[in-house]
């Protein structure tokens, strides 16, 4: 699935060349403007990479009315610009499409970044009909995604200007995190998160909506949602966790008192948009405290160890969870655990528990 299309400006989004047109600036290509709007409505981002001054990007933004999630206007290589945009938006190369009328630019990018989908403007005009650009279900979060990324840019600009620590900025920005049990209406968004998150996801595979519904209804499991907002905007449902309690083994035997309660978290997932905003740390702190309040002695988080979910592992380490080298779950995941005695991770005061 393509999550972001990076567009060239000259002779692609514009019908001419910005700097060569003097006072008579070129108009926007009507077909591609339509594509921009259509993709945005599907939750697919657009960004700009162009060898032009920043004013060209402002001009395109004005003409098309589009919210660009990232803008790289400079004089370096397109491949480098694409890498910077991918880093900024925390996207993998295979989630990116690149559109440029120039054959040499397309060739350079294809050689440097083989996982990027490289398109001519003509192909881009047809792209909305392709499966890579057509998510099956479009959630409210998906539709708002373009707007959310514009809010993110403003938040990032404010953070860059702010002098103090990350937590001080989060408080200054009016961060509000809400942790609440999931309800059936959350299921489509939870499934979407399960499919889309990789870097902040402890499991190896998506969970079906049917399985999520089963967990929601199951008395032994809890599905916990995380919503994030601040003065710059409301990101909605950004993450979730599944908690399973009571006993170190499955199979409820009510005659055996649960002397050592272990709470297991088979899944934690968070949108990487929430990276850097304390959401995952807050969720882990809440999981520890909630389990402790239920009388559990240990919290266990099985987590797949891959190069993509290093951010998840960092959050686990910061929350005091550790994996023994030989501690492996049947599905091959490492089991990170911590005792729930002593000092538990702090829960910031901007967290509301619903």
């Amino acid at each position: 699935m393509i999550k972001c299309v990076i567009w060239d400006i000259d002779n692609t989004l514009l019908t001419g060349i910005y700097l060569e047109s003097g006072a008579d600036l070129p108009g926007a290509d009507p077909e591609l403007t339509g594509v921009l709007r259509e993709l945005s409505g599907r939750g697919i981002l657009s960004a700009l990479a162009s060898r032009n001054p920043p004013a060209a990007a402002d001009y395109v933004q004005q003409l098309t009315g589009a919210d660009f999630a990232a803008v790289e206007c400079g004089w370096g290589s397109k491949a480098d610009a694409i890498v910077r945009i991918a880093d900024e938006l925390s996207l993998a190369a295979e989630a990116i499409a690149f559109v440029d009328d120039d054959m040499l630019e397309r060739a350079e990018v294809a050689a440097a970044l083989p996982d990027v989908l490289v398109l001519t403007p003509e192909e881009a005009a047809e792209a909305p009909g392709w499966p890579e650009f057509s998510p099956a279900v479009i959630t409210a979060e998906a539709r708002r995604r373009s707007q959310l990324y514009a809010e993110r840019r403003r938040r990032q600009a404010a953070a860059n200007e702010f002098g103090g620590s990350r937590d001080a900025f989060l408080r200054h920005a009016g961060t509000r995190l809400t942790i609440a049990p999931a309800v059936p209406a959350d299921l489509p968004r939870l499934h979407e998160l399960s499919v889309r998150t990789h870097q902040l996801n402890s499991a190896g595979e998506p969970v079906t909506q049917a399985e999520l519904a089963r967990l929601l209804a199951s008395p032994r499991d809890s599905v916990i949602t995380v919503r994030l907002a601040d003065d710059f905007g409301d990101d909605g449902l950004v993450g979730a966790a599944i908690m399973t309690g009571n006993g170190g083994s499955s199979g409820p035997d009510v005659r055996v008192p649960a002397l050592v309660l272990v709470v297991t978290v088979p899944l934690i997932m968070m949108s990487c948009r929430a990276l850097g905003r304390g959401a995952l740390d807050a969720l882990l702190a809440w999981l520890c405290r909630s389990a402790a309040a239920d009388g559990a002695a240990e919290l266990r988080v099985p987590c797949l160890v891959t190069e993509r979910n290093v951010p998840m592992r960092l959050a686990l380490a910061a929350a005091g969870l550790r994996a023994e080298a030989d501690s492996v779950a049947p599905d091959g995941r490492a089991i990170f655990a911590r005792p729930l005695t002593g000092e538990l991770p702090a829960l910031p005061d901007w967290v509301t528990v619903g």
Partner: protein, 71 residues
């Protein structure tokens, strides 16, 4: 590198035994991932691949020692 990934110049002089995860530096997942990526680019050491529990990230001192042992 730490000041670069956190955007906080006051961290340039932080002592080597200051905890990275605690209140002092407050390294989070984002800054931590960027730091590890910088380490990999500059020193060729893939901390995440070799350190399951990321114990080497306890302090700048432990991280430096981890890198030095592998260059």
């Amino acid at each position: 590198m730490l000041t670069q990934v956190t955007g906080r110049p006051e961290l340039a002089g932080v002592p080597g035994d200051t905890p990275l995860f605690g209140a002092g530096v407050g390294l989070d997942s984002l800054a931590g991932t960027l730091l590890l990526r910088q380490v990999k680019r500059r020193y060729g050491v893939d901390v995440a691949a070799e350190d399951l529990n990321l114990d080497s990230l306890q302090t700048l001192g432990t991280l430096a020692a981890f890198i030095a042992a592998r260059i």
